[in-house]
């Protein structure tokens, strides 16, 4: 841990270029797919792509992949809380008519 110098702790411009290219391709994909009728899978696909994009930004642009355990746990806790908020609230509303 103590040997973790600041030079090692960050990715290179080449990696940033790869990440932004993937992000742009995913954005084009989600935009095109929105015009195809997939029924209930339209939102599923769009949100899956959004989650992939967010994870790429968090891991690489926000350096979480290269951060300490403390930072990783903090970030994980935040998004886990968001998952609880969204899924439990929606489960309630979706299942009221069952």
């Amino acid at each position: 841990m103590a040997e973790h110098t600041q030079e090692q702790a960050h990715p290179t411009p080449r990696l940033y270029l790869v990440i932004i290219s993937i992000l742009i391709l995913l954005t084009i994909a989600t935009w095109r797919i929105a015009f195809v009728d997939l029924g209930i899978f339209n939102p599923v696909v769009a949100l899956t792509i959004a989650v992939i994009k967010a994870v790429l930004v968090i891991l690489y642009f926000m350096h979480v992949r290269y951060s300490s355990q403390l930072t990783k746990v903090t970030v994980g806790a935040g998004f886990f809380w968001l998952l609880i908020l969204i899924t439990l609230s929606l489960l309630d509303y979706i299942s009221r008519n069952w």
Binding site: A2, H4, Q6, E7, H10, T12, P13, Y16, L17, I19, I20, L23, I24, T27, T30, W31, A34, F35, V36, D37, L38, N42, P43, A46, L47, I49, A50, K53, A54, V57, I58, Y60, F61, M62, H63, S67, S68, L70, T71, T74, V75, A77, G78, F79, W81, L82, L85, I86, S89, L90, Y93, I94
Partner: protein, 281 residues
């Protein structure tokens, strides 16, 4: 762990006395920034959850409202914001590895893209004003999605019926080309919404637009704050304050900027994509 003995005269000027070393100081700042960002997740998360719940409750209105906003502008803005995240990541990298000139250059690129995003947002808001799609009656023209005087451009009720008619024409054409019988064509056709239903649904899009403005408005407000932070970072970078040992303000400014980008990564599908009437441009 034994920390190297640094006398008060030779440590990095940015190291403050209550930290052992630069590493520990940066770690504490990063942790603090993430805790702040978690409170931001809670604020935007509440809006996201409310949006999804109301979408379940008023699904046809959310489809009609979402279909009426411009997916092309939303798409363009997503690319602009992702680009600005890339230039921001480069600015943080430059803070550690390159001259102050390059740091300032990447920060200015980021600000230009951020301003471009806000410009597109302003254009979209102006369209909403012209279409009478601003909720309530306090800002601009009173909300009217049913084609009142001066609001003909934003007649969502008519658009709904028009879209159904167009879909049916396409089915008719496709059926004739493929030689389907009358019954099959009739079965495939969609129901054209009645006047009463279309008007009721169009009126209910006001709740969609309330969410649209609350969510994109809060996001745009964060962008404005971000531009302020970037200006401050540009000033500090131009003074040569950042180097491989000390670039924490750049790093944390980057975290904020990327976070605002992530919020948009979710706003784009939620508002523009998932509730669209499929096939509508």
């Amino acid at each position: 762990m034994v920390t190297s003995e640094t006398s008060t005269t030779e440590h990095h000027p940015a190291l403050v006395h209550h930290f052992d070393d630069m590493e520990q100081q940066k770690e504490a700042s990063t942790f603090g920034m993430w805790v702040f960002l978690l409170t931001e997740i809670m604020m935007f998360g509440g809006l996201f959850a409310a949006y999804l719940i109301y979408r379940l409750k008023f699904y046809p209105a959310f489809v009609a409202g979402s279909t009426s906003i411009s997916v092309s502008w939303g798409f363009a803005n997503t690319l602009v914001l992702l680009g600005s995240s890339f230039t921001m990541a480069m600015a943080v990298w430059a803070a550690q590895n390159r001259s102050r000139k390059q740091q300032v250059m990447w920060l200015i690129f980021t600000m230009i893209l951020g301003a471009a995003f806000l410009g597109v947002k302003a254009k979209e808001y102006y369209d909403k004003y012209e279409e009478c799609h601003i909720p309530g009656s306090f800002i601009g023209k009173p909300f009217n999605a049913t084609g009142g005087p001066g609001c003909e451009k934003g007649n969502i009720a008519e658009e709904m019926q028009e879209r159904a008619r167009k879909t049916n024409e396409e089915i008719e054409r496709e059926g004739k080309a493929k030689g389907w019988d009358e019954k099959k064509i009739a079965d495939k056709k969609v129901a054209v919404p009645s006047d009463a239903y279309a008007v009721q649904t169009a009126k209910r899009t006001e709740i969609f637009f309330s969410f649209y403005f609350a969510m994109t408005g809060l996001h745009a407000f964060h962008m404005v704050i971000g531009l302020g932070l970037l200006s401050w970072l540009t000033l500090r970078a131009s003074r040569g304050e950042f180097d491989g040992q000390y670039f924490t303000p750049m790093e944390l400014g980057g975290l904020y900027w990327h976070f605002v980008d992530i919020v948009w990564i979710f706003l784009f599908p939620l508002l523009y994509l998932i509730s669209r009437h499929s096939g509508a441009h």
